[in-house]
Symmetry: C2
Subunit: 249 residues, 2 copies
């Protein structure tokens, strides 16, 4: 009976130095490096972060095709296909008792990562593969550090929301009454609407936007500088942090 | 004109391997290692995580006394005192143009960390000290990884709340309607009330508790196992994650 372990490694938000020691060691110990390949460019980014630690002679990189869609009829078969690809690759190895794979993704694996879907497909079809998770630094923690923006202190409440599902201004207003800090993930495609709502609520001054933080393409805008982005749709790997007025930042 | 830089380094949740490469490098480059000393034991824990990388011949460890209280009359002078201690130590160094200090804390510096208060005191009294922040893996990401508990996927909303301010069951119910995942930080002292509320709401099965995750003293309880903790007050470094029923985990 062979041992198969697949470890989801959060490689952090973008700066290669923000990977953890544990993530790095686990990547170096792996036989297979699985990376999602999608239209949002996340593939090349997670791999770009890890590539200097990969030994191409000893380790095999396998790209998994994941479509960028919300259509479950296309997504579910894609996840099942990725799970099958992972299992077949690992189970084809001969001459060793233990086969190790890592699945690389940006940020943290359990916060809006692609791994959770593949995990469900693996658990169903290939329960013989042990799953492990190594947490990573999130993009919002890195963005806050870059912008020197306090996310929460003392009694403050923080809400994390995927922005593309949160374009209702009434709801946004209510959330900003109930929470001290709101983090809107993946805000790029709905940025114009969100910035309009924040300006109307007089909250631009206590907001920051960050895109691909820690990468060479990084863009950070804080307070009044957000106005320059008002009519732009921006990439998927982006977020906006807004603090309630009067709350410390 | 000398250069003074103080970098707040999130050393991660507890497992020494969950520090980032950047955090480790910055600690090793520092002249001073500042660590908060408080009754919650955080001092010894942040220092315990970093200690194997500290060179005691070259680097100086300075403990800063921070009282465990919500009383601003005691807290504000303590933060000012800590800021003064940091500034005086760094400014007393002779024979070098650049003086570097790190302030170590668990998790991420900008999410419920002690640094934000000292930062405010430093900014006011010692603006000549440049502040930098290195993000860290949060305790909730590490707990979720340990418990294999999905924090958020697709359109899910996540709320992070300091538990000791959130004992109102009506509010908790409302939050569990509006959010898919609720993370209650520092839940230890109010654990009995919170578990009672969750049991009444039939949510114990989709909840997990974690204390000092990744440390030798780690305690993790998931689902029905939470009942064993029902009448216990637990330490400060603890959290509870609850998923709405029907949401994926």
């Amino acid at each position: 009976m062979k041992n198969y372990t697949l470890t989801a490694v959060g490689v952090g938000p973008g700066d290669p130095e923000l990977i953890t020691l544990k993530g790095l060691r686990t990547i170096q110990e792996a036989d297979f490096i699985f990376v999602p390949r999608s239209q949002d460019g996340e593939k090349s980014l997670a791999l770009r972060i890890a590539k200097e630690w990969i030994d191409h002679d000893r380790q095999q990189i396998v790209e998994l095709l994941l479509p960028m869609t919300r259509n479950a009829d296309r997504l579910v078969p894609a996840w099942q296909g990725a799970a099958q690809q992972i299992a077949e690759q690992m189970q084809a190895v001969t001459g060793t008792e233990t086969v190790k794979g890592v699945y690389l993704l940006l940020g943290d694996p359990l916060l809006y990562g692609t791994f959770t879907y593949i995990w469900a497909a693996l658990a169903e079809a290939y329960p013989e593969i042990t799953i492990e998770i190594i947490p990573g630094v999130t993009s919002f923690a890195a963005s806050a550090a870059q912008g020197q923006f306090v996310l929460g202190s003392t009694s403050e409440r923080v809400a994390i929301l995927p922005a593309s599902y949160e374009t209702d201004e009434t709801q946004l207003r209510q959330l900003l009454t109930d929470f001290d800090t709101i983090i809107l993930m993946k805000v790029g495609t709905v940025l114009p609407q969100i910035l309009d709502a924040l300006e109307e609520m007089d909250l631009l001054e206590s907001s920051m936007y960050a895109e691909r933080v820690g990468m060479p393409e990084e863009l950070v805008a804080i307070g009044a500088d957000l106005r320059a982005l008002k009519n732009q749709r921006r990439p998927y790997l982006s977020l906006l942090i807004t603090k309630q007025k009067g709350s410390q930042f």
